[in-house]
């Protein structure tokens, strides 16, 4: 895109202030009406997207094309090659050839389980869905869970045992370990250290215990870069013991989130999102009720985007607000001044009006004092025991991980560590910059790392052991509520991957048990009644019945906490997990890299998020490279102007800027860990920011596929809704009659099934799970940063973010947009080769083998949901990479248009099953990939001819609307408008 004239934020502000009624905007350029945005809007694809970007003359091109056309006929002359067909030698009895098998297992993030059901096609895992029986996933998935299957086939995985970087083997490693351990035996293992992340695996814990028992002076340390230390410390200070807080958002009327992204980053976020949505969904106007969410946060999050009232304040100010609130609720706390007294007072009154049905939740990024205050407030409001319960932590040994890490580094520095064993993790990259882990670890005599990929830490390892993927492993893990899941493999390790269990076991005599034996032996020792049956049931269900942590009776012992010392300085720096690549562990995952981040829609990079006010003050524009100076360290990073960002807070997403990673992650983003210190793990004051005058190309999809100034997203308040259920339809064009068309309105009768979809904007949190689930299900290609910049991303369902209101604190409305499957589809009329056609059930079908790539259909699609394969995006895949493809969906090649099919392969599978059984397809039998992944059940698919189906009932609700219905496209996908529940006391 050509360079823009600088954005005039003042004009933007004026324009936004001057709007009447609800005006939605997608990006700053749109409000400013920059020429580049206008061009984006009016072109089907951005300039250059339709052309080949190389230096190539028109004449040369024409010559080549002439030759190509002349020869094109011959391309059909290839005859079908003969293929081989390879049956089993011994076919597994549970397998029906051609039918997938499903296994209940779990994936681990930050030590906690995400219960999943993994699909296996003839022994090849291809898709991950949530496990409906799992108490934390409830059938839904996070983006990370969806993308895990791509990691399994990552060609850049660690593949073999390395000794000082040279290939070695497992047996040599085991003998080397035993030589060291023999020496250590005489000194009780004084020189042995083990470093893990947070772990909840009962088997691993028992193995570690046994090891630490045998080597009594050996030590075990834990470090997770996104640590939950503040939560643990808060509980410790409040109750004198470490307990986990479990929230029941389904019982909450009023919720206050203090910098807590409980809908996305919390280990139990899927459950919380589901419960939260239960209280946000409305049916009929009469008696409609919604819970109310207040969010105080320095940087826009998914939770903040769902809030009815969002208060952007700096991270340091959150404590003052919590104090002020506590004081207003009658708690004796040391007060702190906040300019938001009025806001807090209104929240306090609202909370007081709902005793026992409120929740105050503090995030892991806030200091322990804020957590103590939250505990005190919840007790005061009688929420404890009602909406809030306390349980024994799922982590068997919860520790302050920063202290644990510091102790380890001290020991390393003293030179007293002979053997350091690291389980996963990347401490050289992700430990606080001031602790000097890299220099310290170099002093250890032998360093062993079990790792999934070679990373910055691998350089310091004498031994690098490839780790098995969760889908290749036997293990066990607890969910946030303590429920145990047995992890079972779907496939033998593709490479020489080992599990943590096998690594620890190899340190004992005699070594050599495999993970299955280890995990099974542990559970056998637990004296389950009727072990074999319980074991099999647990494997089948994906949960060990009744294993949730017991509730813990707690006694609030804390007096009001003293104020957390705050460093001075005007600008504040914030460190947050990246919404896609998390702490950096998913940096080599193309699906996650290309996933537009919630709200900012950035892809392939992180940026320093700055507020519009700060941008104006420092004369910054999107993509301007700045020098960030914090605590004596400097970092160069591009900025991104983030509407809704707290004025003086600059957010850096962690995990990017990796020096050593695979081919996908290499050269992306900048390393925010370089500024992160032990004093400022989540935030710190005293940041200095300076323009360098350089530019860095940041790529976002916010401008792509926008539809000019039309009635795309609809929202209102619950007050308006209860007053008039159809309030959104006032001043809107009515839905045209079916026969207002030049074509044959009755060409299709739809007397069999009639497929349709309803998307509830009211509960959609914009988490992107649908986008990535669709990518996994439908073999959607990753195109890379350059191609995204050209507007060539291939996602079949995108999540658009629409801002509304002021630049500094806009409301965010998320809208997932798949193909609408119009009954009067504009795309079908213009296809010269009949490659996009209607079927008798109303699907708008794209026939890849007919498509010749004219792109007329995309040009004529008002929803901009069609995607074109400009290049051979699937070229050059290794045989292992190809294994991720869904065998039920065609892999498209260059020159072919594609789009959402309503998962027609799933429809066909259900149809065949139903037809063989001689019955109709039942409601809920077809779950599309996006629907399955959605944590809030916002997407519902079904038969519009079945009056009892969920989708029909949803479409009958007064909030139902067609996007661009006035065009008489008669879309099969419709939306339920978004409602907010503002506090009538407060200004909006």
């Amino acid at each position: 895109m050509k360079a823009d004239a600088p954005l005039d934020l003042d004009t933007i502000r004026q324009r936004l202030a001057g709007t009447r009624g609800r005006k939605y905007w997608r990006c700053l350029e749109e409000v400013a009406e920059t020429p580049a945005f206008e061009e984006f809007l009016h072109r089907e694809f951005p300039a250059g997207a339709s052309e080949w970007g190389d230096e190539f003359s028109r004449r040369g091109f024409l010559q080549l094309m002439a030759a190509s056309f002349a020869l094109a006929g011959f391309s059909a002359c290839t005859k079908q090659p003969l293929e081989k067909i390879v049956p089993y030698v011994r076919q597994p009895p549970e397998l029906t050839p051609g039918k997938p098998l499903y296994f209940a297992t779990a994936l681990t993030l930050g030590g906690f389980a995400q219960g999943v059901v993994a699909t296996s096609h003839e022994g090849r895992p291809t898709k991950i869905e949530g496990n409906p029986d799992h108490p934390v996933s409830l059938g839904a998935t996070k983006v990370f869970t969806q993308a895990a299957v791509l990691d399994l086939y990552d060609p850049d995985r660690a593949q073999t045992v390395l000794r000082a970087g040279q290939p070695s083997d497992w047996n040599t490693f085991v003998s080397a370990m035993h030589a060291i351990l023999q020496d250590q035996q005489t000194k009780a293992g004084t020189g042995i250290r083990i470093l893990t992340g947070s772990t909840t695996s009962p088997t691993l814990q028992s193995q570690l215990n046994a090891f630490l028992h045998q080597y009594s002076a050996a030590k075990w340390h834990q470090w997770e870069p996104l640590s939950r230390d503040n939560i643990r410390d808060g509980a410790w200070q409040a109750f004198g013991e470490i307990v986990e807080t479990q929230y029941a958002f389904d019982k909450a009327d009023v919720i206050l989130a203090l910098d807590a992204d409980f809908l996305f980053t919390h280990p139990s976020s899927l459950r919380y999102a589901r419960n939260f949505a239960q209280r946000r969904r409305v049916k009929d106007a009469a008696g409609a009720k919604m819970s109310r969410l207040y969010a105080v946060e320095p940087t826009p999050t998914i939770t903040g985007s769902m809030a009815d009232h969002r208060l952007p304040v700096s991270s340091a100010e959150v404590e003052a607000i919590a104090r002020s609130l506590a004081q207003k609720l009658g708690l004796e706390v040391e007060a702190a001044a906040t300019p938001h007294e009025e806001w807090v007072a209104a929240v306090a009154r609202d909370l007081q009006a709902h005793p026992g049905t409120g929740i105050v939740i503090a995030g892991e990024t806030q200091p322990a004092a804020v957590h103590v205050l939250a505990h005190l407030i919840n007790a005061k409001l009688n929420n404890s025991g009602q909406t809030i319960t306390y349980t024994v932590p799922a982590e068997p040994v919860p520790v302050n991980q920063l202290t644990s890490l510091q102790t380890l580094i001290k020991d390393l520095q003293s030179g007293g560590v002979d053997l350091l064993i690291m389980m996963e993790g990347n401490p050289v990259f992700d430990t606080p910059a001031d602790l000097g882990f890299a220099e310290a670890v170099a002093k250890a005599k032998t360093v062993v790392r079990l790792g999934f990929e070679e990373n910055e830490t691998s350089r310091y390892c004498h031994w690098h052991i490839p780790a098995a993927h969760a889908l290749e492993s036997w293990s066990d893990v607890c969910a946030f509520d303590g429920t145990v899941t047995l992890i079972q493999p779907l496939i033998e390790p593709l490479f020489e991957g080992k599990t943590a269990h096998e690594l620890i076991d190899a340190l004992f005599q005699p070594p050599g048990r495999n993970s299955y034996d280890i995990v099974r032996a542990y559970w056998q020792a637990q004296k389950w009644p009727n072990f074999e049956k319980t074991w099999r049931t647990a494997l089948n269900d994906g949960v060990v019945a009744g294993s949730a942590s017991p509730a813990q009776q707690v006694k609030l012992t804390a007096k009001a906490p003293s104020k957390t010392a705050q460093a001075s300085g005007k600008l504040e720096i914030l460190f947050r997990p990246d919404p896609s690549i998390w702490d950096g562990r998913f940096v080599n995952n193309g699906w996650l890299q290309e996933l537009p981040r919630p709200i900012s829609k950035l892809t392939w990079d992180n940026a320093a998020l700055v507020s519009p006010v700060l941008a104006q003050r420092e004369k910054l524009e999107n993509g301007d490279v700045v020098t960030l100076k914090f605590g004596g360290r400097t970092l160069r990073a591009p900025v991104w102007i983030m509407p809704g960002q707290a004025e003086n807070s600059v957010t850096l997403h962690l995990g990017y800027g990796r020096e050593r990673t695979g081919r996908v992650g290499a050269g992306t983003g900048f390393n925010a860990y370089a500024l992160r210190t032990s004093q400022a793990l989540w935030s710190g004051a005293g940041l200095e920011i300076k323009r360098t005058g350089e530019k860095y190309p940041l790529v976002d999809t916010q401008k792509h596929h926008s539809v000019e100034g039309r009635d795309i997203v609809r929202s209102g308040t619950i007050g308006e809704f209860t007053a008039n259920a159809r309030f959104l339809e006032a001043h809107k064009e009515p839905r045209p009659e079916r026969d207002v068309t030049l074509y044959h309105p009755d060409e299709f009768k739809y007397d069999g099934y009639k497929w349709g979809m309803s998307i509830d904007l009211n509960v959609c949190i914009g988490c992107n799970a649908c986008t990535i689930a669709c990518q996994a299900e439908n073999n959607i290609a990753v195109v890379g940063k350059t191609q995204v910049a050209n507007g060539r991303e291939m996602h079949w369902i995108r999540v658009d973010a629409y801002f509304q209101g002021s630049l500094d604190n806009p409301e965010v409305n998320n809208q997932p947009v798949p193909c609408m499957h119009c009954e009067n589809a504009p795309c079908e009329l213009v296809c010269p080769v009949g490659a996009t056609v209607h079927d008798d059930e109303g699907l708008n079908v794209q026939v890849y083998n007919r498509c010749i790539g004219t792109r007329y259909c995309s040009n004529n699609c008002p929803y901009k949901v069609r995607r074109f394969n400009f290049l051979e995006f699937n070229a050059g895949m290794t045989p292992v990479q190809k294994m991720v493809k869904n065998p039920d969906v065609t892999v498209r090649s260059r020159g072919v248009m594609e789009k959402c099919t309503y998962c027609t392969q799933r429809i066909n599978a259900a149809r065949i099953t139903a037809e063989i059984a001689n019955r109709k397809i039942r409601d809920g039998e077809i779950i599309t990939a996006c629907q399955a992944a959605c944590p809030v059940e916002a997407i519902v698919f079904g038969d519009l001819n079945d009056p009892e189906s969920r989708v029909v009932k949803l479409k009958g609700q007064p909030l139902d609307y067609w996007m661009l219905g006035e065009l008489n496209t008669r879309p099969r996908t419709s939306y339920l408008a978004k409602l907010r529940n503002p506090n009538p006391e407060m200004k909006s």
């Binding site: 002359c77 005859k79 079908q80 003969l82 293929e83 081989k84 067909i85 390879v86 049956p87 089993y88 030698v89 011994r90 076919q91 029906t96 050839p97 051609g98 039918k99 069999g752 056609v837 079927d839 008798d840 059930e841 699907l843 079908v845 026939v847 890849y848 083998n849 039920d888 969906v889 065609t890 892999v891 099919t901 027609t904 392969q905 429809i907 066909n908 065949i912 037809e915 063989i916 001689n918």
Partner: protein
């Protein structure tokens, strides 16, 4: 000025016009002929296999049912190719020393599958499902031909889309009672049209949507 073209040029011009037209016609005919010839369709071309397995011997001679080996034909899109173990149910006792069967014995001993050459193959963008066809009364013979008369397997039909559509447009011409699906000897009765219509309604074959693209392509 002397003439540029000699009188001969007229003849050359005329004959080249005729020649070009003839060449185009011939080219078209040749392409069509090649396209429909066994060279590209593989129809009636016996394929060489690692073991010259004879359906004629096993089906016609011994009377083994299709489903003994193709176990999943009624339940899955894929009919299933027998694992080596299935061969071994008999051949662990019979012809154990036969050199022709050596690849099968080797496969079992080394736990490596036998790589057969695929005879009936569809393009990758077509999703054919055996189970639904079998359950709706499409006989094996209808697509695969008299397999019981094939010493070595060959493709009986082109499997081109045109051929698929012949039946998808008018299934009544091909359907047979469900219990006759695996019968190699069944022949169409004189009133196939009447029987077919009966079966179409009895088996709930939705003829109206059988030609929708989404039925076979996803």
């Amino acid at each position: 000025m002397a003439q540029i073209f000699s009188p001969r040029a007229n003849t050359i011009a005329r004959s080249s016009i005729v020649g070009v037209v003839a060449a185009i016609i011939f080219g078209g005919w040749a392409t069509d002929a090649i396209y429909w010839s066994p060279y590209s369709t593989y129809v009636h071309v016996p394929q060489e296999q690692p073991v010259p397995f004879s359906h004629k011997h096993h089906v016609d001679g011994l009377g083994i049912d299709c489903r003994y080996c193709h176990t999943s034909v009624e339940t899955s899109h894929y009919a299933g190719l027998p694992p080596t173990e299935t061969c071994m149910t008999c051949h662990s006792q019979l012809w154990t020393q036969a050199p022709l069967l050596a690849p099968i014995h080797r496969s079992l001993a080394s736990n490596t599958p036998v790589k057969w050459t695929r005879v009936n193959d569809l393009p990758d963008f077509v999703y054919f499902d055996h189970s639904i066809h079998v359950n709706k009364g499409v006989g094996c013979v209808t697509c695969h031909g008299q397999v019981d008369q094939m010493p070595l397997m060959w493709r009986e039909n082109t499997l081109y889309m045109k051929w698929c559509l012949e039946c998808h447009r008018a299934p009544e011409n091909q359907l047979r009672p469900r219990e006759e699906v695996f019968n190699m000897k069944w022949t169409k009765p004189a009133d196939q049209a009447a029987l077919g219509r009966d079966l179409v309604s009895k088996y709930h074959v939705h003829t109206d949507r059988l030609t929708n693209c989404s039925v076979c392509h996803h």
